[in-house]
């Protein structure tokens, strides 16, 4: 099943990884996006994420469904955390499973690109110098549902 979650609790990568397992899978690819301690040369203390949860979950589901329509995946899962995150914590987790690794790698990378472009989620960085700012970001693509046509070029 496609399932994209928005959560305000710590992401448990081991639990998500267990859900990816499939007897026909020959390759599992997992991407974990974690909070780093710098941005454009400035020291970062922590991040705060906001998300419009109902729309973000639905956009995530649509992205996973589009990936499954495009690659022969056995599983595709993801989640994005909101709230305050400390350095090293996971902000996003994406996992794909396929019979062969090429599809799992390609789909995982594509899903992550789509997540960044299509989820109504916002990141605010608090810097060591005391300043805090919303990340510049990209205008949300208005395509309803975020479904990419099969065979289209990945962004």
């Amino acid at each position: 099943m496609d399932a994209f979650a928005i959560t305000d609790r710590a992401i448990d990568p081991a639990a998500w990884r267990r859900r990816l397992g499939h007897p026909r899978a020959g390759g599992l690819v997992v991407f974990e996006g974690v909070v780093r301690d710098h941005h454009q040369g400035r020291a970062v203390l922590h991040l705060d994420y906001q998300g419009y949860a109902p729309l973000a979950a639905r956009a995530g589901d649509a992205i996973l469904a589009a990936a499954r329509a495009r690659w022969p995946l056995l599983a595709a899962l993801g989640c994005h955390r909101v709230g305050r995150l400390e350095i090293g914590e996971a902000a996003v987790w994406i996992g794909t499973a396929a019979a062969h690794r090429a599809e799992a790698f390609a789909a995982c990378a594509w899903i992550m690109d789509e997540v960044k472009a299509r989820l109504p989620v916002w990141k605010r960085e608090t810097f060591a110098d005391g300043a805090a700012a919303w990340s510049q970001g990209a205008v949300l693509r208005p395509d309803p549902g975020g479904v990419a046509p099969a065979g289209s070029t990945p962004p």
Binding site: A56, K116, K123, W134, V139, L140
Partner: protein, 80 residues
């Protein structure tokens, strides 16, 4: 006058100082509603930087606004 619920996120939440509010408005479209709010609260994001959602569905600036709608103007996104 029709009343709508506005949800604010990120830059707009900071500028408005609220997560949500109920607003009575004569605005017929999302564009008219944003212009009204931007004028009243000095919201600085231009329409070109925003996306529009009405009742939890992405829509366009010309979307009609009706009594009871929930409207969200979505600033540039930065997930991941």
């Amino acid at each position: 006058m029709p009343a709508v619920t506005i949800l604010y996120f990120a830059h707009l939440r900071d500028q408005r100082g609220l997560e949500s509010e109920r607003v009575e408005t004569a605005a017929a479209t999302a564009r008219e509603l944003y212009r009204e709010l931007a004028r009243r609260h000095r919201l600085t994001l231009p329409e070109g930087a925003l996306a529009v959602a009405v009742n939890e569905a992405m829509t366009g600036w010309d979307a009609a606004i009706a009594d009871g709608d929930t409207v969200v103007f979505l600033p540039p996104v930065s997930g991941g």
